[in-house]
Structure formats: C-alpha cells, structure tokens
C-alpha cells in the first residue's frame, strides 16, 4: 500500500482493511529507520493507527495537525511525502526526527521540547478565527507532555475558546518513564471507567470529552474523528494506546524502547556499544554512596530519568531519595529550592536544553532566596544534536542570574570534589556544569575557600594566557602544547567558576601577557569569555573569545562545526600567532 502513498490524499479512498495493512507497512518503515540510525521507537509505533486515521479524516495541510514534542511524528512524515527518509538509507539524513516546516507544508512548527502543542494550536485557531477562516486545528499531545506547565496553561486557555480545536490525547500510560502527578491518577481512572469517571480533568477545564479505549482500532478512530470534524467548540479525544505497539521488544520494555540507538530488528539487541566511562555513571556511583551516609540528600529529576542513568532498578534502590516530578522543570527548581530551605540537600539533575524552561524559577525561587540547592546541568557542550536539544545555551542563561555560584569542573576528580563540596555546604545555591568529556587529572583541586571564585593557574608562562572553561580546558591544553612548539610558553588556566571572575588573577595577567584566549563549550554571546573581555579590555589587554556562535544548528557535523567556529587547536594557534605579531 505504502508504495502508492505520496501524500495524505492517496489514502482517502482506502478501506479500513487497507488502512490496517498500510499501518503495518508504516511500522516496518519506522523500524527500518530507527534500527539503523536510532530514534524514538515506542512513541512512534504506538501512534501509527491514530495518525493514519487523522490523515484519513482531516485534510492536511488545510486542516492543521500540531504535534507535541513530535516524538510520535514518523507515521505523519511517512504519509506526507517523506517515506524515503524511512525506507532508503541514503535518504535517512534528509529527514529530521522531529516536525520541521522546512521539510513539508504539513509540519507547522519545529518542536522538540514537550508541552507546547496546545498553546501553538490555540494560536493557529485564534488566527483562523480572526481571519474568519474555517479549517480544523488538531493538537496531538501525549499523556506525558500534559503535565508540563505550558501544556496546562494551554489547556486552561482552550477551555475558554469558543471555536474549533480538537485536542487528541495519546494516552500510552507513560511519559518517557512512568508518569507522576495527580493528573495521571485521573487519566488512569478515566481509562478504567471507559472515560466515564466522575472526576475528569478535561471537563473540569471546560472542554468536551470523548474516550476511545482501543487506539489501534482504525474504524473507531475514523468514526470518532469524523464525528468531531468541524466541531465549533474545543473537544478532547482521549485515546488509549499501547506504547511500542506491534513490535515485541518495545511492547514489553516500554521505558527502554522510548528512544533507542541502532539495534537488530530480529533480536532487539543493540548493534552499538558504549563502554566509555561517562559522567552519568560517575555521578550515580557517587550518589549511591552519598545517600547511604547522608539522610538529607535527595535527587530530583523532571521526567528524564533514563537520560541521566536512573534506570528502574536504580530508582528502586534510591526509593524516596529520588523524586521524578514528571516533565515539570519549573516545579522541580522551585521544589528543590524549598527542599533546601527545609533542611534537605536536593540535587536537581537536568539536561542543558531543558533547564532553559526554568529561568524565572532559578532566578526568583532559587537565587533570590539563596537556598543551597544543587543544580546539575548535563548534556552540555557543542556537539551534534537536533536544533531543539543543543547544549550551548545554559551558560548565558544561568551565569547572568545573581547569587548563583556556577562551577564548570574540567576533570573527573575536580567534578567529584565540586559535587561533594556543593552538596555538603549549606550556604549558597550552586550550579554545576557537567563536562561533555571524561578526563582525569588529580591536580585539579577545589580552592581553599570554594565560595570565593579562584581561577587555577595550571601552567605558568607569559605573553599568551589560555583560559579553558570546563571541558574546554583540554582544548586550551592542546593549544598550549602546540604553542610550545612555536617557542611560546603560555599561561594555562582552569577557571572552574563561570558566574564570577577571579579579578585578581585576571588583573595580574596584565604584567606579562599581551593576549588572553578564552574557550568555552557553549555560546560565546552572553557567556563566560565575554565577561573576561569586558574586564580585561578595561585594562587594555587583548582578548579573543572562542565558543559557539549564536545560532541554532540542526544535526550538524561536529567536526565541521568546530572548524566553522575556529575551534581546532591548529586554528586557535594560527589566530594567536597572527594576533601577537
């Protein structure tokens, strides 16, 4: 069937039986791609019939389907002219794992963080109404995404809309990991009563409501969608689906199969292996010991336990010392601040690309109140990733908030020292930027008074000073070694602190340095190096800042990106030699 499908129009004449066969072929196409290059397995397999039925009933792109997080958009991509990106290995790279308007007129937004679809869809609906148009707007949101503040705000807003907006809740009974929160008790109640439970969060928010128990029954899906098409008021269609449907391994181990690296389709076994030491494991090993000796330590996470190594087994081990709040980053920061206020030692462990949800909470709930919570920012740095998952924006966002002590350790040993000190102290909120690469160097120690920003001069030299923050310290060290071949012995500095400058150390550079180089594993704009440029420019010392340019890159080739940013040791050395001529 799929062979003849190049746009949603091509399925309009299909019978239910044919749509079922098509769904099976879509599933195979999805597995073909994800088994070779990795991707979101469970969410996509679970939404195939639902999306096929949507495209059968509605007329995309006139009717607009807005995906939440778009972990579940593969079937949509396959049906809207992009099946090659799933069938042919050569075309895989041409299609992103998320909705992308630059790929197709059927995609309306680039998304990759959860909980945005309801607000985005409501804006399209409002625009339609203001322009007196009449198409359908459909938001497709997973149960996991519903708990996020932005989604709940959107739901609240939609509850007062008086025009068409169809909210399809794809309820597969879990987020990436199990769901958390009162809302999910209600969804369970609704599932168990075939949608008849007296308590109904959607009705309470003012929306009409329909329940579909079998989200893989295309006939029912089509009938229901037809019945709400062109509805003149907002309605929720709550659809119960099976995450990972149609593939034995993803059906039985749902959390593991949310996202997978390449695997063998027959055996389900991974075809790649990672034996490298990594900071998740290093941190887990530390925390596992720490909770045994310190009752007050508690780890907080917002819906991404797998991404930080908290498997179901480890969660079991941590018991009440691990709080997964679900996809609610704002709540996680505010609650962590209060946990610290209440005498506990919370560590909110979050990925760089998700911490940007919490600017106001870091500022007011935490920093203004100076509560000694620890924020652990993982998955940092310039690397290959989707535009929505870049790890380069956290330094500007966090380090310009007052009262936060921000630390970017460079080595494993320094990291563990920093982590231990941060948890044990009870005076200031601390942000730790987990480095992107594991390097070992016992000489990188905490200063005597860790609250006072003190840069660590690891090699004394003159003429040129190299300041490499966190993971970038090792790049600075490579530059240092290359410079020595050019008969320059530079000063090498591991600053560790990126919220504040060690102005003494910097001022003293003036004496016998004519050039200072800063390197950071993130955005230059608004970041660490620019603070140094601002300080040293006053002193008349020339500064060159290195890091990422202010742009969204999408699945960039890392090597090319580094070259573009002039971030290879050779390029930096060349710049230095030119600058000190």
């Amino acid at each position: 069937m799929l062979e003849n499908v190049n746009s949603p129009k091509d399925i309009k004449s299909f019978s239910v039986e044919e749509l079922n066969i098509l769904s099976q072929e879509i599933r195979e196409a999805i597995l073909n791609r994800v088994s070779q290059i990795g991707g979101h397995v469970g969410p996509n397999l679970g939404a195939v019939e639902l999306i096929t039925a949507l495209h059968y009933v509605f007329d995309s792109p006139i009717d607009k389907i807005v995906f939440d997080v778009s972990h579940q958009c593969y079937a949509h991509k396959i049906l809207t002219g992009r099946k090659n990106g799933f069938l042919n290995q050569e075309a895989f790279a041409s299609i992103s794992g998320y909705t992308a308007p630059f790929e197709s007129e059927h995609d309306h937004f680039m998304v990759g963080h959860t909980s945005t679809s309801l607000s985005l869809a409501s804006g399209l609906a409002k625009a339609r109404d203001l322009k007196k148009e009449s198409h359908n707007v459909i938001a497709l949101i997973g149960d996991g995404s519903l708990g996020g503040g932005e989604a709940l705000e959107g739901l609240n807003f939609i509850g007062e809309l008086s025009s068409n907006l169809i909210v399809v809740v794809n309820d597969n009974e879990m987020s990436i990991a199990p769901n958390h929160g009162g809302l999910y008790k209600n969804l369970k109640e609704l599932r168990e009563t075939n949608g008849q439970a007296q308590n109904n969060i959607f009705k309470a928010m003012g929306l009409d409501y329909v329940y579909i128990e079998n989200g893989h029954d295309i006939k029912t899906l089509i009938e229901t969608f037809k019945s709400v098409k062109d509805s003149s008021k907002p309605i929720v269609i709550h659809i119960h689906t099976n995450k990972g449907q149609g593939y034995q391994f993803s059906e039985s181990e749902k959390e593991k199969w949310h996202y997978n690296m390449p695997f063998d389709v027959q055996t389900g076994l991974s075809t790649v292996s990672f034996n490298q030491e990594n900071y998740n494991q290093i941190t887990l090993d530390y925390l596992r010991q720490k909770i045994k000796t310190d009752d007050k330590v508690v780890v907080v996470n917002a819906g991404t336990p797998g991404a930080i190594g908290f498997t179901p087994e480890i969660r079991e081990e941590f018991k009440e010392k691990f709080i997964d709040v679900g996809i609610m980053e704002e709540h996680a920061v505010a609650m962590s601040s209060a946990l610290a206020k209440g005498g506990c030692k919370p560590i909110f462990w979050v990925l760089s690309s998700f911490v940007q949800r919490t600017n106001d909470q870091l500022s007011h709930d935490l920093a203004l109140n100076k509560n000694p919570a620890v924020i652990l920012v993982s998955w940092t740095g310039i690397g290959s990733n989707d535009a929505t998952h870049l790890g380069i924006f956290d330094i500007p966002m966090i380090s310009n908030i007052p009262n936060l002590l921000c630390l970017a350790p460079a080595s494993k040993e320094e990291y563990l020292n920093v982590l231990d000190w941060s948890i044990n102290q009870t005076e200031v909120p601390v942000v730790i930027r987990v480095p992107s690469i594991v390097m070992s160097d016992y000489s990188l120690q905490l200063p005597k008074n860790p609250k006072k920003p003190t840069f660590h001069v690891t090699e004394k030299g003159d003429k040129v000073a190299l300041i490499g923050l966190g993971a970038s310290y090792w790049l600075a060290k490579e530059v240092s070694d290359l410079l020595k071949n050019n008969k320059i012995t530079p000063t090498l500095i591991n600053p560790l602190y990126y919220s504040d400058l060690d102005t003494e150390a910097l001022a003293s550079l003036k004496e016998n340095h004519q050039l200072v180089i800063t390197i950071e594993d993130g955005l230059i704009s608004g970041g660490f190096g620019q603070k140094i440029a601002s300080f040293l420019s006053r002193q008349g010392v020339k500064v060159l800042n290195y890091g990422a340019q202010k742009e969204f890159t999408d699945r960039a080739n890392v090597k090319e990106l580094y070259e573009k940013y002039h971030l290879t040791p050779e390029q930096i050395v060349e710049d230095i030699l030119f600058a000190i001529q």
Copy 2:
C-alpha cells in the same frame, strides 16, 4: 486589640468577636500604610479574616504558611511582629510589600511573581517528610495565580503527595483583572453550587476538597482550618472572598484598587498625579489607530492589562483584538508565535520582570520557528523597585537567543517607527525594548534595511566613542556634552540593535578612537556592552562597559544606585579622562 498583638501567640486566646474587632483594626492599619505610600489594596483587604484565622489555628513559624505572589501578606505581617510598618510612617520603609525571610522567621520565601506557592510548599512538605517531622504546611494562593503553569505543575505534584499539605485557595473571583481560562469557569461553577459541582479541578487532580462560601466569617474559617489541621493528606480549602472587603472604594472598583498609589482614605481620590507623557499612552494611541487599518493586528497580554494601560474601557474598544490570557506568560509567547504563523500580527506586551518566565518559549516556540511576532518589553531599566520586579535582566536573557531581532529605540519617534515597521514586516520575530523615559528626537530614524543591524552615528568625533543603548542614549549624550567642555569631541552612537553588532561601524571606530564607552539600562553581565567589548578587544580597542551590576537590589534609592554603578555623567567623564590619559 492590635495594640497587644506582637506575635501570633497573642491572638490564641481571643474570642471570635475579638478576632473580628482585630480584623477591623488590621484593615485600618493596612489602609493607613497604602494610603500614604501605595501598595496592594484589594488583595490585602480581602484576605484579613482568612489570615487571622490561619494564625489562630496554626502555629507559625513551626507550621509554615507559604504565600503566593504575597500581594495578600499584609495581615500576616501585622500579626507577626511587623505592625509598626503599617502604623508608623517612619517605619513604613522597613517593611517590604512582599514576604521576606530577612524580616521575619514567619516568612519563608521572597516572592513577587505569581504561581510559585504550591511548588515551594510541596518542597517544604517533602523536606518535612524526609526528615520525619510533623508540622503543617499551608500554601495560600489566589485564584488568579492558579492559572500559571508553575502553579498547575505544583498542583499536579501535590495531587500525588501522601502527606500533609493544605492548599488555601483565596478565590476573590478575579486576578489583577478578570480571570481567563477554563479553570475559572470551573471555579465559578463551584462557587455557585457551594462547592458541590460535579466538575472539580482539584478533585480531578487528586486532592481532597472543602468549600467555604463566606471567606470573611472567622468562625467558619476557624472551624474548617481546625478540621484539616494535621491532615495526613493534601487538601484544598476553596474560600470565596470579596476582593477589597471592608473599604467602599476597593469593594466597588476592584481592578482599579488592586494596587494603588497614595490616596485619601475618605474620598478614595489619588493624592499624587502623573501627567507626564508615558509609553503606555504613546503605544495605546498608536495601536488604537493601527487596529482600525489592519485587521490582522492583535495585542496579547498575560494578566497585567492595567500595567500597560489597558483599562476595562480600552479593552472594550479593542474587543477580540486584545487577548488577555491570564497569568500565563509561557502560553502567551507560544500562542503569539502561532498567531504569527497563522498570518496574524500579534504583539505580546509584557513587563521586563515577567518576560523571564518565557526563556524556553522565546527560544523554541518563537525564535527557532522564526515567526514574525512582536514582543514588547515594558518597565525596563535600572530604577527603584522590589527585588522581584527589577527591569534589568531582560537584555541578557533575550539578546543571547538566536534569530530574535532585538531593538531598543531611544526616542518616542524612533520607538513609533520601530513599532510600526516590526508589526508590518512578516519575516522575523522582533523584540522591542520600551525605553524607561520619554524623549523626543525626530532625527533618530530606522535604517533603510531594518533587518540589518546598523548603528546610528549621531555625532561624529574622535578619540572617544559613546554608545548608549535605548534610554541610555540620553545619558551618553550628556556625557558627550560634558566631554566637549573638556575639549574632547566624542563620537556619539545610538545603536538601536542589541541582538547583533554593526561590526562595520564598530571596526571603523578603530581608526581614530582609543576608547569606547557602552551604556545600557540593564545588567552589564551577559548584556549588550560585553558583546562590544568582545568584538573590539580583538581589535585592540579599549572598552568600558556601564550598566547595572549583577545583583538583586530591593527598593534601592535610585540616585544612590546610579552612583554605585558609576552611572552619573560626571563619574563617566572622570573615568574617561583617566582612561585616556
């Protein structure tokens, strides 16, 4: 009664009748303060009995009362040893308008943005449970604050708590202005059914629920609080109150009396007047015309219409062209992005201190998608304000996000040109920073291609270049004039753009300038001037950055603040003369 009350303990033996008299005295004390120095009138008058009853039943500070936004904390302050701040004019300044732990052990958090109390209270409750303590934790939240994403996340989390947390919902039927969203239809339904309505947002979220119809009936309040004290699970007490209760003017005009400048208690008339031209009025005058000629223009606001001059009358005039989404800034940004995607011309008008809720939405929902919405950031700049309402953090937060064209006009005429161009263009998302002072200068025009950052050199000179962003342009001009007295004719620049540099203009300064001064009406750290320092330092040009230091100031004396930041024209001139010696 109040004379003998210095701590909550002192009211424990009072009869209901005495508590009623006390409430009346508290009301008078509140009016005494707000009529003389301004403050939140309606929210505080409406919560007097409720707070008095809380302190009668619970044992603060062992039992912990967490206030939301703390617009309603005055009675609490009066009962917890701070009545002097309300009774004696000399002591007014010693007490802030918000909860503040540095004032009293009865205050647990500094707050000033809405919707944080549920998360904060849940953190205290969790800490209590982990430490195996047993006090009560009470969150006091207004109905208006409930719609914010952080509050809804908190509510969701609390729905799964299995220990004591008492959520007191102070429902005065409005936010600052009328409420918006489906949630509020439900609260209305609950009020109209004495809490018996079948749809119940709180029960749907998994919480127990009690309703009190008369939130000024101390006897009922006390009985109900006693019945839930030491509850072993979370419960909502939904209390219907009258905003502005007990003062004729605030009872009859609730929105106007949410916050008031000084007034005459007898007549309710303002005792101060503001006849100065202001940007609210300038913008309103423009928009009023604009919506007549352009169907697609729509103004979006998040629960603060009064703060931008959208009185009930003006809202009536704008009809569907004004969308107040309630206190849901995240939703406002995402919806605006989608409105632009849908072909409308949305202007999200927001205050600097509240826009910091939307970092992720500005980045992903808006900037990554390049939808041509306009974000209008008001109440900017270095000035006297509470620590939670500072207007200095928006430049670092916004200008380091890719794809946003950020403009800081300096004069009224430039502002109107910028605003008109931004709304009419359909290519890029634009952020306009509304200046803090109204100045007129017709010579400040938009460059020919407004999408290309082009700095405007308004006075050509040499040796020293002064770059003053937005409102700071006028300070730079003052410096320029003073320098001329010192026989230096500086170059004066109005950069307008703060997202990107005009590198050509900057590079050309190298020729005949040895010093560049940047001034911005906001944080130096991560801001505009540091980008210039970074660029020019490479070229070997000395740069001095001026602006606010990275700190939370609380109700600072503006003159002292400027002096501390070396921001008087005389100080800057002194620095310049020293630097170019």
